[in-house]
Symmetry: C2
Subunit: 479 residues, 2 copies
């Protein structure tokens, strides 16, 4: 055991011998073994014992730990909380409340003492139990790969790691260690209480599973070890993909680029959906398989829909180019699109006006020779339009749409159509239509900014001077 242990301290924990380590010590063989090995190896440790006030014996257990520390001149800190009351107040289960209170205490100690790490005595047996617990509750790779030797950032602290260097040591080895070195230990009688899920798993399920395969514990431990490597590989892959597809993010919403996401494999799409949901609901337990599948279906099949409610008060919104995951009642932003800031602005030729969110709209006179456009009169870059200035009466007006607006787009044969039909056909997102910038000459719409110019102002062999309209964003920032 000790060979493995020191390898783990070296490779996985990378500890120094300068800064203290806060060791959570219940008094059981696991944590007593942990603290004793660390003391032998001359690490500067602080023994932190937490009294959950759940059992009458708990203060005498604290006493055993205290005496062990005092005899060896190790710093000792006692924490205490009425966990039962906490559970009621915070609506946590008793197990959750105990766990949360204990870890908050440990990380508070670590912060107060400038510690390099918090350590706890979870063993290989705890690892196996944890994997099986996750399996029974439904879990992906993260749960099935169990606990890590070093966890940072963790659920309690962004900078102080939680370390579990005994994860490759079996419980019986810690018992044998304590016995051999005559280290006093306490045994928690609630560990035998079968009304706890975890105890039933340890005392009943695992022995039963061992009738199928006596090597079960070791095999599950090895699986977790290997899966953890896979988990890290995937985490890096997902990080990269996430950076590629993330378009916008705020407290109330996340938007991903749906066109990019569509090219990814199903596995990666699922991971990205899960990540999007996790951004708004960091507690992963809330993310159901079905919610993820519903999101992925949107990425894959692109069925048009307005809004889908998913669990945990979130909604999915699909728009051309984006898939939003958002708080059910949050207003989604419009600042990735050009939107007019007032009902009506004048745009002099040679001038630029500001729209919302850094978008700029410019009009300039130019020579016909400078015109780069397709035979049909359409520029490839739809954020630029080239019009026959002779057909236009300055100043130009820039405005939002109005009841009854009609538009005759260039290159689409036929009569003028309702502007709203044009917007729907062009897939301008519904939310953006009301304030979409329209450039007008008098009452006539000559350019739906970023889309088509009007047929009536197209450049012909007879065109003399050319009007160039262009739409751009102030900073070439990622939207």
């Amino acid at each position: 055991m000790l060979i493995d242990f020191s390898k783990i301290l070296q490779f996985e924990c990378q500890l120094d011998r300068e800064n203290p380590i806060v060791v959570g010590v219940s008094g059981g063989a696991d944590s007593m073994c942990l603290v004793d090995v660390l003391a032998q190896e001359k690490f500067p440790i602080i023994v932190a014992h937490f009294d959950h006030q759940l059992r009458s014996e708990s203060s005498s257990e604290a006493e055993i730990v205290y005496r062990y520390a005092q005899e060896r001149g190790i710093q000792y800190i006692l924490g205490s909380e009425d966990v039962k009351t906490r559970a009621e107040m915070q609506r946590e289960s008793l197990e959750e409340a105990a766990r949360n209170a204990r870890y908050q205490f440990l990380f508070q100690c670590a912060e107060d003492s400038g510690a390099q790490a918090v350590m706890v005595g979870h063993t290989a047996d705890d690892q196996v139990e944890s994997v099986l617990m996750h399996l029974l509750r439904g879990s992906g790779l993260d749960g099935l790969s169990g606990m890590a030797y070093c966890w940072l950032p963790n659920a309690w602290h962004a900078e102080i790691p939680l370390m579990r260097p005994l994860l490759s040591t079996w419980r019986r080895e810690t018992l044998a260690y304590c016995e051999q070195r005559s280290i006093p230990t306490v045994s928690d009688p609630t560990n035998q209480d079968l009304s706890y899920f975890r105890n039933r798993l340890r005392l009943e399920l695992i022995p039963y599973l061992e009738t199928f395969n006596p090597a079960l514990r070791k095999l599950i431990w090895q699986s977790a070890e290997v899966l953890r490597g896979d988990r890290d590989l995937i985490a890096r892959l997902v990080d990269d993909a996430w950076r590629q597809v993330l378009v916008k993010q705020d407290a109330g919403y996340v938007a991903i680029d749906i066109d990019l996401s569509r090219d990814f494999s199903l596995g990666l799409q699922r991971r990205l959906m899960r990540r999007a949901i996790a951004q708004l609901r960091p507690s992963l337990r809330d993310i159901s398989f079905d919610d993820v599948e519903r999101g992925v279906e949107q990425i894959r099949e692109m069925k048009p829909f307005a809004k889908i409610d998913i669990a945990a008060g979130l909604k999915l919104v699909l728009e051309p180019g984006f898939l939003w995951v958002a708080e059910w009642d949050s207003d989604l932003p419009t600042d990735m699109w050009p939107q007019v800031s007032s009902e009506l602005s004048e745009l002099e030729i040679g001038d630029t006006i500001a729209l919302q969110s850094g978008w700029l709209l410019a009009a300039e006179k130019t020579e016909k020779t400078a015109v780069r456009f397709e035979p049909e009169g359409l520029d490839e870059d739809t954020n630029q339009a080239w019009l026959d200035l002779g057909c236009i009466k300055p100043p130009l007006l820039v405005r939002a749409r109005r009841e009854g607006d009609r538009f005759q787009p260039l290159g689409m044969q036929g009569q003028s159509q309702k502007l709203s039909d044009f917007m729907i056909n062009q897939k301008i997102p519904r939310r953006a239509r009301d304030r979409w910038p329209l450039v007008c000459s008098g009452r006539q719409i000559i350019w739906v900014a970023g889309y088509r110019p009007a047929e009536s102002v197209q450049i012909t062999p007879q065109t003399g001077q050319v009007l160039k309209l262009s739409l751009r964003r102030k900073n070439a920032e990622k939207q």
Copy 2:
């Protein structure tokens, strides 16, 4: 169910309606349901029934399947083998023998009929059982992610996929389907025999696990579904990394670039080790956790060693730059290094001689002005050496080392040293030393090819003509 089913046929199987599908039909509700849905959907199918000759009822079961096919005008093929005898002959377990005989028959039918796929009726229940079976036997991501809807290349064929479109349909749904449509089914009495591992798992273990969580089947099915996506992500990642690190491969060995591999994460190193072993032992079940760990330790810690035996008749060999996984008794190649092909060759100035495996050694006279070398007289490219031709007596001799050889390397102050010490210091691999090319002028070694020239022939301000020696490979192929 049928909605899911046709989605799977569309997205996962991508079948056409031109080429036949060979459907393995035992006569149980699962396969009868499968074949009936496919017939309804107008896929061209061939019903293939295999009689394992293990039970007396088996021929009457074949009769039920035959009658079903005949009534509907579906092509029917009957296969048969004495599986018990096969198991004894091939030293397979009865389950293995039955499985192998059955799939060989199905893929033979598929090949004979030019089929686009072989399909079998595994259900969501089979998926859950398969995952649990892998868990109990010890498994990584591949086992825990269960069976795929479409498997290609598979264990039986490189080009015809094995498809399991019912993997998201529960067994009770297939039973209900058959009952509703009055489709006759047979039930195999050995499915109740608890002496089979799989039956005990289905009849005892799963119901017991459901006392911990009634939703267990669904949750495990969902886990497998998600893990399969992760498995595919990792497979692609490992493929990329494998292409990077693979240096040499043959029937008897695989060599990976250890310096590149060292930069990878532990998870990826494990995957690469497993891949290296799998190249020689394609049956993954043989690859133990410990063997993989031993290999990874070599990558990470670079403890010098000659050879380590790992399981399944394989050895690990560590050499500068390479980690070999090889058959225990195989000779490793030396063709990535320059090796002399005869004891002694003459090398005229202006000539090139061939060494082994496409390596070439050239000598040419050159002007001092063309010399590109560091002040110390050492070229950065150690495959080139620039020497003072005035100190050299042509013709040059190229030979292997001899007992008693000494060498005084350029730029390493001091006396000459034993050539063998120089080779050890320079980490020339042991296997390559005996035939490493040495360029000599008379009895003196003036260049250990690819390493340092001799001090005595170094270029000085007094040097007139320069001798350039160079070592290169005929084709710039990857070694």
